[in-house]
Symmetry: D2
Subunit: 424 residues, 4 copies
Amino acid sequence: MSTLTASASQTLLLRYHHTRARTEAICKPLEPEDTVVQPMVDVSPPKWHMAHTSWFFETLILLPHLSGYKVFHPQYAYLFNSYYNSLGSRVLRHQRSTITRPPLRDIYAYRQHVDEHIHKLLQQTPEEELVKFLPILELGLQHEQQHQELLITDIKYILGTNPLLPTYKEQPAGTINSDATPGKFLEVPGGHYTIGYTGEGFCFDNEQGVHEVQIDDFEIMNRLVTNREFLEFMEDGGYKDFRHWLDEGFALVNQNQLEAPLYWMKQDDEWHRFTMHGLQKVNLNDPVCHISFYEADAYANWAGKRLLSEFEWEAASQVYPPQEGNFVETDLLEPSAANPAIEGVQQLFGDLWEWTYSAYHPYPGYSKALGAVGEYNGKFMINQMVLRGGSCATPESHIRTTYRNFFHPDKRWQYSGIRLASRR
Amino acid sequence: MSTLTASASQTLLLRYHHTRARTEAICKPLEPEDTVVQPMVDVSPPKWHMAHTSWFFETLILLPHLSGYKVFHPQYAYLFNSYYNSLGSRVLRHQRSTITRPPLRDIYAYRQHVDEHIHKLLQQTPEEELVKFLPILELGLQHEQQHQELLITDIKYILGTNPLLPTYKEQPAGTINSDATPGKFLEVPGGHYTIGYTGEGFCFDNEQGVHEVQIDDFEIMNRLVTNREFLEFMEDGGYKDFRHWLDEGFALVNQNQLEAPLYWMKQDDEWHRFTMHGLQKVNLNDPVCHISFYEADAYANWAGKRLLSEFEWEAASQVYPPQEGNFVETDLLEPSAANPAIEGVQQLFGDLWEWTYSAYHPYPGYSKALGAVGEYNGKFMINQMVLRGGSCATPESHIRTTYRNFFHPDKRWQYSGIRLASRR
Amino acid sequence: MSTLTASASQTLLLRYHHTRARTEAICKPLEPEDTVVQPMVDVSPPKWHMAHTSWFFETLILLPHLSGYKVFHPQYAYLFNSYYNSLGSRVLRHQRSTITRPPLRDIYAYRQHVDEHIHKLLQQTPEEELVKFLPILELGLQHEQQHQELLITDIKYILGTNPLLPTYKEQPAGTINSDATPGKFLEVPGGHYTIGYTGEGFCFDNEQGVHEVQIDDFEIMNRLVTNREFLEFMEDGGYKDFRHWLDEGFALVNQNQLEAPLYWMKQDDEWHRFTMHGLQKVNLNDPVCHISFYEADAYANWAGKRLLSEFEWEAASQVYPPQEGNFVETDLLEPSAANPAIEGVQQLFGDLWEWTYSAYHPYPGYSKALGAVGEYNGKFMINQMVLRGGSCATPESHIRTTYRNFFHPDKRWQYSGIRLASRR
Amino acid sequence: MSTLTASASQTLLLRYHHTRARTEAICKPLEPEDTVVQPMVDVSPPKWHMAHTSWFFETLILLPHLSGYKVFHPQYAYLFNSYYNSLGSRVLRHQRSTITRPPLRDIYAYRQHVDEHIHKLLQQTPEEELVKFLPILELGLQHEQQHQELLITDIKYILGTNPLLPTYKEQPAGTINSDATPGKFLEVPGGHYTIGYTGEGFCFDNEQGVHEVQIDDFEIMNRLVTNREFLEFMEDGGYKDFRHWLDEGFALVNQNQLEAPLYWMKQDDEWHRFTMHGLQKVNLNDPVCHISFYEADAYANWAGKRLLSEFEWEAASQVYPPQEGNFVETDLLEPSAANPAIEGVQQLFGDLWEWTYSAYHPYPGYSKALGAVGEYNGKFMINQMVLRGGSCATPESHIRTTYRNFFHPDKRWQYSGIRLASRR
């Protein structure tokens, strides 16, 4: 992980409490029953997320660094370890909904217990000794932010598979952009680009291994692909025509009889989609969302374009540095239409994670950390594709242009969308 | 269904409210999260049981018989229909945990709404017209009692698969019987026996079709098989020796690596079992519980005995009429040891459902009722085995000696046990 | 098994050689490749059947009774044991197609080796000592006849799933009966009937346990249900209407999108069926064939009738003793239409096995034999339904009115059909 | 595909006949039954390979280019199309063993029919017009060579899952190398390397898109990892220690209880492996073979090394150009030990395909051809890893240093092995 220079414990404490409070704010609109179910194996119960992030701090900071610390409950490590073999046996991933107890209030008590002890630890540790656990504390905060995004996507899936399609929260006023932004392709000059994180702040191990990559000239689309454009693909029989698809993608389409993005459904012959604000008519100018890599690639083929590699994406972000984005802080929790007033490349940050045609593999010189932290990223570097740029569910402070997100190419429940490059 | 002579609406109302209150009492110790999960497809979420039983009254009584009645919620029929094709589409059985909303309080409001309108209907209907819906109201009450038993078994499964093994409620004082009752075999003389319900009260359609059956002399064990006896089978390698087993049963044992009844686990080299009162040491005099038909049959073979047919069971109940039993009213919710002071055949009623070696098939002359009620029993008459006598989770007023319960031979989550006959 | 009085070894030898030769005649039209595949788990490769029946004689007769006998090949017991746990480990049932070697010619050599040694054994055994292995030799012959029928059904399945739909052999001339026989219901008087085998010859253990059964008056259809009648059911939407079906049957219909019996396919808008003589137009007067118990029961419900119990079938066979039938000796290998000239009940023997609404359970007093023979029947007495009467693939000398065949209710690849009873 | 300059038809014809004869030579040792089974979905029946390669020539050359050509059999296109959606419907991949007919002799007749017509076509086409179908004829030959390798690996799997473990052919005399070659790491200097095919001859479309890649200094092991080395990993608990494994790989190991490479089995406490020459003791100096990418990667991690990227492999092959290798022409059909007398990097060509840590993705500028040929490679570019260098089952004339083979990371039935790089 990164080598953080020690900041004042007070600043850190503020950040800690802010991050932790944010997690609880996300869960506030939920009923207790919403917090325990697991409608598919990729989704974790919200209650589990809340406990797991606390277990992370308890296990990796309080136990080794706060002298005399007693765990809140002797079995919580078994219940709330996610995938760290180094840290003992655990509830199997697909059985997380068996954890109906402890009830929600106990999880809140657990969070409070951990928070109070982190507070105490930070208060009592002399500034010069903070450095001993600062990197792992930083990792804990980043980790909690990742789970905040997962909480949002998992909650959306939980509500979206409920036959009542309940609303998570009302749509903020004035957040619908109704004008179309014409698509165009802007040049990214070829050459050598430095890939990977070179700054001073935090980054994940998978962004390290900075290296030069040679890239040819290419063109990048100025915005994300819209629902209007994707509907053209659908209406042109895109889901039925094998020529656009990777073979495994087409098999999946047929097996699951896919004919639209996740959360789309037809009502009275009109396409609607389930959103965090309930079922809505599909807004044609919004970016198309909740699609798999296979759908992104098939769309690109149909359009006579292609997806970017993750290196091209990172190069483009150096040429067209993203300034701002529709992140979780807008409280919209859905992607929003591009802004026709902007000339250059937009939506690189926020709105939707952009599928790249790059496998999630180690950068040159990558090596796993020792111990449990070494299980954080490295062991997942197979069969997954890199996504870039963050989404409307990502905390703004969490993203970087070098940030590598990754999912299996069939996954659709994340906020994922399409950025096109022009074929050479 | 039976032809009930109309009783006073007031009596009926009392029974209605008592039955409905009992359902809610069963759910009282639960956390909201306990009420929504479905750890295996056979188990339904407790919240679903509470709503489904209300939907039954709403759909089959209030809608047809209470003029001007409006359904509580237009989508509840979709959410809470169980398996009645006649009554429209519904949430698939294995997806009942997607119903996180409506929250528990809405389900209680639904119950109250239905109760108030049944109350109103009963109050306003002249005695002479009650007969129009009395049979279906009676069926609704019997139906609710069946779900009360399922609630208890499903709650036990939900708590028993939770890694914390939470207690449902404390064990009532003075309910442990520590003396052994020696097993012996008592004679049931052969001859013609009348099978099926011949009384005046309610019975299910599957008990009708009264007919004569010729039975040979046989001997019946005076009590249920105990944990002590079953442990001997286990320690003799019973689960490893194919000779005792039906082929499909032995395949199941190997596939799932079974070596003990459901809910048994070894701690510190001693067998314990999860009970409604938490994890306890196995009481050797208690009847062995939560076993499949395959286990019951394998035990019987090992012991050189056999299971009864359902006709033999019913004949035995005529020769040794059961007087009382450990039903749900004892509030023990677990089987209890036989009473050494009793001379004859005991435990025919209550404690545990007794697997018979009889397939659940129609009696001669059986015919399904028209409409939705016709789906109540008949369509399940394949691949299931009959169990007799009720259990510690059965309401006393629900059982009869002619009562036919039925489950697939691999099921273990019901309160099921073993009654032996001596081989001819 | 039965207690056979010792017959002359010469007679026995003739019967032995005739039976063995018949097995090879069945396999004669096959290509070597046909003899090794296993298109579904229920089907065994023909080569395996030929070897397995030889292994049965080798293991249960030659090894114990022919002094100095050496097995043909030390691994054949592993390859060709079917399901006898007593006789050691074996190739798993679903992996029988891995046995590409030994090649077909080795299997023929194996058969010859076994035959020569049985010959030798019979020749050298004094008449008075034959009795030591006569019962098991008899069982071996009956066993081989059972496999002859399975060979035919398995070969039909192998050819019928080959996209080329190859013909097994040409249809014998003059075997098509084109006249319809009107269906009618004939009375079987109620009373006490003796069930089970009471004769002197061979029977299986599952026919023993002779007992009295009381049966009510009922009516039996004079012939099997025809394709014409079944087509009416199909055209009336029979496969789409849940009201006719057992719940598990209807689930199967939907899951596998069933809309006709096995081997039926539409060509140029006309129903054809694959037969041992190639693809043919459906002959409307022929009995409907290759249907599951679920389809038989659904048809009966649709027709306002019901299936017989196995006891009713056996009683009917006492009232209307079957004289002859379309057995394997006609060489037709398909069911043929009823004969309009016959007044009484016909087709009880031959043509098609008739599904009964009786579970395959032990008769009173049933007990398994010791050793491997005890695994022959008893361990399959769960989840299967009894079929009666033999089929066009059954050797005539193999059947009896007390013969109990059994298959799971979803199986369709056997020659199975429908006999109706009139509802009381 | 490549743009071949037209060579004399006579030369081409010789090559055609040689290639076709080689396929038949591979199948010669088989029994007909060996040629029809499909013990796992990845394996195709040898008969199918022989027919499919003929169908390729028939469909893509004879039908479009030989005027008046009639297909050998109207249904063979349905039977023997592999995965070309453009060329119509077909037998599903996992159902290829249903094709017991046509029998083997018909397939040979089919091959002869196609060969005669290709002969005729080549004879009658003027040299200047050959160019019209030369590229596709070349592709057909390369395609047949690929199936020759698959034939060998599939035959090995078919024989290796047969409980008798039959020998394919005797081991050629003098092919065992018993001396160990010490492992060492040789330098490959960093810099810019040209990746992709730049020659004049044939290459696949996936090698095109020549581009520059910048590579850092690294070291490559002089030979493949040996059985001795892999046994050390095994004996050190390598298969039990999650720290060495990618998460999905470790899950697979546990699920399938893997503890050794494919085809390894212990006999009398000593490791043996099934080879094309029967079961043999593991030769410690031979390269470890039939391992998945997961096993290769886990071994590398355990050894403190890593796998190469496909670019590093190609760069290494420029620095240490492979001269010769143990290809199919040695007739050994198993990998052989390295030669201690060789100083530099050996075994880059032949012996075993070397797993790289590179996903099989398109090179920059890749675009699929129009029509059926466009389905040859492109649609498989997801979830697979690149292997380099050919194996003992590869025709020597088929391989190039730019050749990209690809399989899913869990596959073990190919001749796959491990080449290490030293970690930076």
